[in-house]
């Protein structure tokens, strides 16, 4: 049998990454994702001991996090080698919920912006048509980013996580890269 080597979602042999003067953009290869949906009249689960967050919110415990993605539905992200075990583990813990493996469907991109709040706000405004003041720490939103449906998660004051479809990861990366280059022109290093 041929000895095959898997590429990462953006298409390289190693996770993609860019560092500009303002932003640090990284493709995460250490995230497992599963979705969790409640069925009518069943007990509410607490993955990793976390209470399920309300609309537009996310919560975390250690390196695991749970984000609200729709009424009665959440994404569970666990930081570890991206595999399909998370879904089976959740299904075993919460048999009355509908659990679906999602790791294969998504690419996770983290953006750090050490350059400051002004640059971060400008980046958000250029990425998606959302109110940057509402996407504060602890909130997440699913919206369009350059015509691609994405989840935006505000990890910290100057850090953002983007979950996009793995099948169009290259286009998403291009969109983010373009914003990064344009921001470099907008905020030249003095």
């Amino acid at each position: 049998m041929a000895d095959l080597e898997a590429d990462f979602a953006i298409g390289d042999k190693s996770p993609a990454g860019i560092e500009t003067g303002l932003l640090r953009i990284t493709e995460r290869s250490d995230m497992s994702i599963a979705s969790l949906a409640l069925r009518k009249g069943t007990p509410v689960p607490q993955p990793f001991g976390l209470s399920l967050p309300g609309p537009g919110e996310w919560v975390s415990e250690d390196t695991n996090c749970v984000l609200w993605v729709g009424p009665g539905q959440w994404f569970v992200l666990a930081r570890r080698y991206a595999d399909e075990e998370l879904a089976s583990e959740l299904k075993a813990s919460f048999p009355s919920c509908s659990v679906t493996e999602q790791t294969d469907g998504w690419v996770v991109i983290d953006i750090e912006c050490p350059a400051g709040d002004e640059v971060f706000a400008e980046m958000l405004a250029r990425l998606a048509n959302i109110d940057p003041d509402k996407l504060i720490q602890g909130r997440c939103v699913r919206t369009l980013l350059h015509h691609l449906g994405c989840h935006l998660v505000r990890l910290g004051p100057r850090s953002l996580r983007i979950l996009g479809a793995r099948s169009s990861a290259g286009s998403l990366w291009h969109a983010i890269e373009t914003v990064a280059v344009n921001l470099d022109c907008r905020f030249p290093v003095r």
Partner: protein, 95 residues
């Protein structure tokens, strides 16, 4: 156009797909004796009012919930927005 989502606040209309008349929620009973006529009306006959209209909108690029949006088709004013699941739950209760 902004649609005031009941859970998420004002959202860009580009995140939504409009699916037409909210009457689609009321699917006729296929076991009823007049089912054929009822289904003919359900599938083919629609009002197309110039004014206030109840429509189904799908938040496709958002939380993927179905909304019943009451909208004035002449002015684009949005009069009311409810989750479609709430609308049908209320209807079930009143039956």
């Amino acid at each position: 156009m902004l649609i005031p989502h009941p859970l998420l606040g004002p959202r860009d209309a580009r995140e939504f797909t409009v699916m037409g008349d909210a009457g689609m929620i009321d699917r006729p009973d296929p076991a009823a004796p007049d089912a054929a006529d009822r289904f003919y009306e359900y599938v083919y006959l629609r009002d197309n009012p110039a004014g206030v209209h109840r429509e189904l909108w799908f938040h496709e690029y958002g939380d993927r919930s179905w909304l019943v949006v009451t909208r004035n088709t002449l002015t684009h004013e949005i009069v009311a927005v409810e989750l479609a699941s709430d609308v049908s739950a209320k209807r079930e209760k009143s039956r």
